[in-house]
Structure formats: structure tokens, C-alpha cells
């Protein structure tokens, strides 16, 4: 039975593990070109989106963002506003509006236009 418990714990721990693929090169240094947006990004998003251990999709990691982008901007915005998995509500930017969130998502996901 003792071995079973250990197996159970190991299984649970494995289930709780998160992907932590290496950050794409330059993820930590990249910031939006717009100075005001860059400030919001560095104060809020960057801590997790340039740190693979956070489990968050990394800035500029097109592969990680692709399935998320596929869900569409309304879903990404809802996840940002309401929080999703490890991300707190409003992505920790308490004064951001929809327009800023959209711009930040586009920047991190490397979306054009």
C-alpha cells in the first residue's frame, strides 16, 4: 500500500507539472515600440511572459502562441480580463482598457496589424 501511495503522489505531482520550454531568444529584452505600452508591458506582463518557469506563453514564441491566437481575440481578452490559470485578472494591469490589452496581446503573440 505504501508503494501505491507513493505512486499516487508521483502521479499527482506529474499531473501538476507545467511546460517550461526555454524562452525564445530575446524574449526578456523585447518591449513594444510604443513607449507608453512598453512601460505597461515591463510593469505587468513581462515578469511572467519572459520567464519560462511561469508556464505562460513567452513573448515572441510564435509556436506557443499559435493555438491561443487561433481561439480569437475575444477569447484572449476574456482570459486576460477574468484571469486564466496562473494569470491574475486584468493581467495585473488594473488601469488598462480593452485597447491596451489587445495591443499587448498582439505584441506578445507577434501578431501583425
Amino acid at each position: 500500500m505504501r508503494r501505491n501511495v507513493l505512486c499516487l503522489c508521483a502521479l499527482l505531482l506529474a499531473a501538476c507539472g507545467q511546460d517550461s520550454a526555454p524562452a525564445p531568444q530575446g524574449a526578456a529584452a523585447a518591449v513594444p515600440a510604443d513607449a507608453r505600452l512598453a512601460k505597461v508591458y515591463t510593469q505587468t506582463c513581462r515578469a511572467c511572459h519572459s520567464s519560462p518557469a511561469s508556464g505562460a506563453p513567452q513573448t515572441g514564441d510564435a509556436k506557443a502562441w499559435a493555438p491561443r491566437v487561433k481561439q480569437g481575440m475575444p477569447v484572449l481578452l476574456d482570459h486576460t480580463v477574468n484571469g486564466y490559470k496562473g494569470m491574475p485578472p486584468l493581467g495585473a494591469c488594473m488601469d488598462c482598457g480593452e485597447k491596451e490589452f489587445e495591443a499587448l496581446i498582439r505584441f506578445m503573440a507577434g501578431m501583425k496589424g
Binding site: 500500500m1 505504501r2 501505491n4 501511495v5 507513493l6 499516487l8 503522489c9 499527482l12 505531482l13 499531473a15 501538476c16 507539472g17 507545467q18 512601460k39 505597461v40 510593469q43 515578469a47 518557469a53 508556464g55 480580463v81 477574468n82 484571469g83 496562473g86 491574475p88 485578472p89 486584468l90 495585473a92 488594473m94 488601469d95 488598462c96 482598457g97 480593452e98 485597447k99
Partner: protein
């Protein structure tokens, strides 16, 4: 695994799957409305998602002049927002203004001789360690979570742990306050001491705090040691451990006879960075899984938890700069209630809390957190630690997607009967009469508040209830 155990596990899992654990009772966010630009006007919510609001305006002034103008002209209630890490409804500003100080950030000035630094109120604690280290300084103490802004942490009497360590506000030697009438007040213990004593812990009810001067200590290295041990033996050594360690706290693990113990002390040892950043979160997820699968069989759950605990007997150690040692990542969101008690009531109350949890709340999987805070000498009118030489704190947590109120309603009376005062940023049910009885200088605070904000522009409905206005 025996056949009977397997069947029980399967049945328990199916039953648990039918129970939303009060999720339907959780407050729902207001619907987003369209703003003048056609874009959605977004509801605000706190970190746990329990508190909500729909402000008419969201402002982040970029200069002191712009802030003064905003305070005069913006629609009330004006509520300052930091990281949204308070569990009480301090921030909701329905129909009014949500005001962020994120442009008032960074180390603005420092004095190497006195080891003081003036820091923007919107600076997040997580962003303060590195710039302070560059000027040879460090915060004397830090909370377990470092996402908060400095102004928010001070406003709510946020604290760390250690018998000789005060809460964040106790290290503030001067601050700048902008009132809703646009008055800019620089105050300290010497300059307008009445305003200073009121403003230190003021839940953003006097105006907004744009900057604070902090009494720091030389940059230093700390060693953090985390271990598990039987709760009863640890409690027998509690006084000795508190006296021995610079910073000390422990967690009581539900459905277990063990405690997780954290001790932090100064050291000159070489840096050995923490490699356990994710482990606290994984442990909470594991405890949740134990609850989900085994809450129908309390004795089996306790046995499994105790057995698992015994396999985690080796202490984890790390050495690093103080600002990398104090805080932890808290990915698993929760709601929280914490009360500060006179030290003599701490352990007797903890026993009652534990009994209540064991007997009535098998749904709880978050550990009970126990800390100590130096109570003397901080001078804030609304310091919840005043009158306690050393204050003892007990915090209970509940998953953010489950209703916390039944658990908190059973625990709060235990804190109240021990003359506890609630943390200003954590859930409680107290009103003006309760606070007046707990704070000897309550009226003095109300008088200062009324003089600085006679129209009550800084008050939302929750603060009106708190102050009886």
C-alpha cells in the same frame, strides 16, 4: 491497492464531481458596458476574482500636477488601485474613478548615510529589491507575496514575519499625500505628525500616497531553511524558534499531523539560489487532489497525507539576496482571512482553528499560516499590531473558485474572542462599532480623515460601512 479501496476512491471521486463547493454562491462580475469609444468598459476585479467593480473612469496620471487635477476633477468615489491583491472591497469604484499610481514608481532619491530611500508609491515590491541593492540598501522585511505596490502594502498594514521585524509601514519615515481637494501634504513624525500617524495605515481613505521614505538596512544575504516536522513537537519549541530566527513562520497542513516550517536568518554563505519556486504551488495542488479524492474518507486522507509528509523530511536550503529569499510565488489563487492576535492568544486560538477545520471543514486543503510581527513602535493610528509587544497572526485560505464564507464564518468568532484585529486587506465582517472598540485612537483617525476629505470622495460603500459614515 485493495479492491475495496479502489471502489471507494472511484465512488468518492464521482461524488466530489457533483459538488461545486459553493461556487454558485460566488459574486459575479458586472457585465462589461461600452465606453464612448465603442470599446468595452472593463469591470475591475481583484486577484482572487471575488471583488468586482465597474468604474466610470480608469486613470493613471503621469505627473504630480496631473494627479492633483485628477483628484480635484475626477468623479467620486475615487479609489486608488495597486496590484488588486486585497481581499476586502477596498478598490471597487462603481460609477467613479479607479486611480492607478503606476507612473509614480522607482527609487526617487536616497541617502547613503542614513540608509533611507524615497520610493514611488506605485512601485511594486517585486521591483524594489534590485534598485535598492544597487545603492547598497535593502528592505528590513518583506511580505510573503511581493506583487503589491508599496502604497497598497502600507495602506493595509501588510507585514512579513519575525518577532523583531515590524510591518511595512513601520519603516516609513516620511510620505507624500495628495488629498481629494488637491492638497499636497509632505508629512513625517516631525512634520504634520497627526496626518502622518493617520496616513500610514489608511486604506486609501485620506487621498493617495505618491511616495514614501523608507528606513532601510544595508543590502544583505539571507539563508532560508524549510522543513517539515510533527506539529506538536514544533509547537513545544515555538517560543524558542521565534526567538532564535530572524524571520520565522509555519503552516499547519490540513488532514495532517505535520507543520511546514520556514526560518530565515542572515548569513555570509555563498549564494545558493532557491530551486523550490514551483514547489509550494505543486504542494497546494497535491493537497487539493488529496481533498478531491479522499475527503469522503477522513482517516484515509490523513494517513495518505501523513505518509506523504514523512517522505519530505529533508530540509530545503537556499542563500541569496534578501529580496530573493523573502517572497514566494502564489499561483494557486485563493481568498483569505487573517487576524492579528495578542501573542498569548496565538497558540490556544490556533488549536481551536485546527479543531474546527478538522471537525467541520473537510473541504479545506490550503494550510493555515502562522506568523509573528513586532507590534511596538510603528505609531500608526490604525496599526492592527498596536498594543501587542509581539503580534501573532493566523491566516486561513480557501480556493478562489469555491465559496469561502462557510469556513471563514466558523473561524472568525475564534479570532474575535481572542481580541483579534483583522488584516485591513483580508476578508472579515466587522463594521464601524467593532473597529471603534478595537482601536483606541479610532476617533482621532476619523477626525483627520474628515478634515482631509470632508465630502467623502475617497469612500466607496465598503469604507462607509467601515467608518460608519
Amino acid at each position: 491497492m485493495q479492491r475495496r479501496e479502489f471502489l471507494g476512491l472511484a465512488a468518492g471521486t464521482l461524488l466530489v464531481g457533483c459538488d461545486d463547493r459553493g461556487a454558485a454562491n460566488l459574486p459575479k462580475p458586472p457585465a462589461a458596458t461600452a465606453g464612448p469609444d465603442g470599446k468595452r468598459r472593463l469591470p475591475w476585479q481583484n486577484w482572487s476574482g471575488y471583488q468586482h467593480g465597474l468604474p466610470a473612469e480608469r486613470l493613471a496620471p503621469e505627473s504630480l500636477d496631473a494627479l492633483v487635477e485628477a483628484m480635484r476633477a475626477a468623479p467620486g468615489p475615487i479609489r486608488p488601485v495597486g496590484a488588486g491583491h486585497s481581499f476586502t472591497p477596498l478598490v471597487p469604484a462603481d460609477g467613479g474613478t479607479l486611480l492607478s499610481l503606476r507612473n509614480f514608481e522607482g527609487v526617487l532619491a536616497h541617502d547613503a548615510g542614513t540608509l533611507t530611500a524615497t520610493v514611488g508609491g506605485g512601485t511594486r515590491l517585486a521591483d524594489l529589491g534590485e534598485p535598492l541593492e544597487r545603492i547598497g540598501q535593502a528592505l528590513p522585511n518583506m511580505p510573503d507575496i511581493d506583487k503589491q505596490t508599496l502604497a497598497g502594502a502600507i495602506a493595509t498594514a501588510t507585514h512579513g514575519t519575525g518577532a523583531s521585524l515590524g510591518a511595512m509601514h513601520s519603516y516609513v519615515t516620511a510620505l507624500q499625500l495628495v488629498t481629494p481637494r488637491g492638497e499636497v501634504i509632505d508629512c513625517s513624525r516631525e512634520r504634520r505628525p497627526d496626518v502622518f500617524a493617520a496616513a500610514l495605515v489608511s486604506v486609501g481613505s485620506l487621498g493617495v500616497i505618491t511616495q514614501c521614505t523608507l528606513q532601510n538596512v544595508p543590502a544583505h544575504r539571507l539563508k532560508r531553511r524549510v522543513w517539515m516536522e510533527p506539529l506538536d513537537s514544533m509547537l513545544e519549541r515555538f517560543d524558542e524558534l521565534v526567538a532564535k530566527h530572524h524571520s520565522f513562520e509555519f503552516y499547519v497542513v490540513p488532514s495532517s499531523d505535520h507543520a511546514v516550517v520556514y526560518a530565515i536568518d542572515p548569513t555570509d554563505e555563498p549564494v545558493r539560489p532557491r530551486d523550490d519556486v514551483a514547489s509550494d504551488n505543486e504542494s497546494v495542488r497535491l493537497l487539493k487532489a488529496g481533498r478531491d479524492w479522499l475527503s469522503w474518507a477522513p482517516r484515509l486522507r490523513r494517513w495518505v497525507t501523513n505518509t506523504a509528509d514523512e517522505y519530505v523530511s529533508a530540509a530545503a536550503e537556499a542563500v541569496d539576496a534578501s529580496w530573493r529569499i523573502f517572497p514566494s510565488e502564489r499561483e494557486v489563487r485563493f481568498n483569505e482571512m487573517e487576524y492579528h492576535l495578542p501573542r498569548e492568544h496565538l497558540l490556544p486560538t490556533l488549536r481551536k482553528v485546527r479543531e474546527t477545520l478538522d471537525q467541520r471543514h473537510p473541504e479545506i486543503f490550503f494550510p493555515i499560516e502562522v506568523r509573528v510581527v513586532r507590534g511596538v513602535g510603528d505609531g500608526a493610528l490604525l496599526s492592527p499590531f498596536q498594543g501587542h509587544a509581539v503580534s501573532g497572526s493566523i491566516a486561513v485560505h480557501h480556493s478562489h473558485v469555491e465559496d469561502p464564507l462557510p469556513y471563514f464564518a466558523d473561524i472568525e468568532p475564534l479570532f474575535r474572542e481572542a481580541s483579534g484585529r483583522p488584516h485591513w486587506g483580508k476578508m472579515n465582517t466587522l463594521g464601524a462599532a467593532d473597529f471603534a472598540a478595537l482601536y483606541p485612537r479610532w476617533q482621532e483617525f476619523l477626525d483627520v480623515r474628515a478634515a482631509l476629505d470632508p465630502e467623502g470622495k475617497m469612500l466607496n460603500p465598503y469604507l462607509r460601512k467601515v467608518f460608519g459614515l
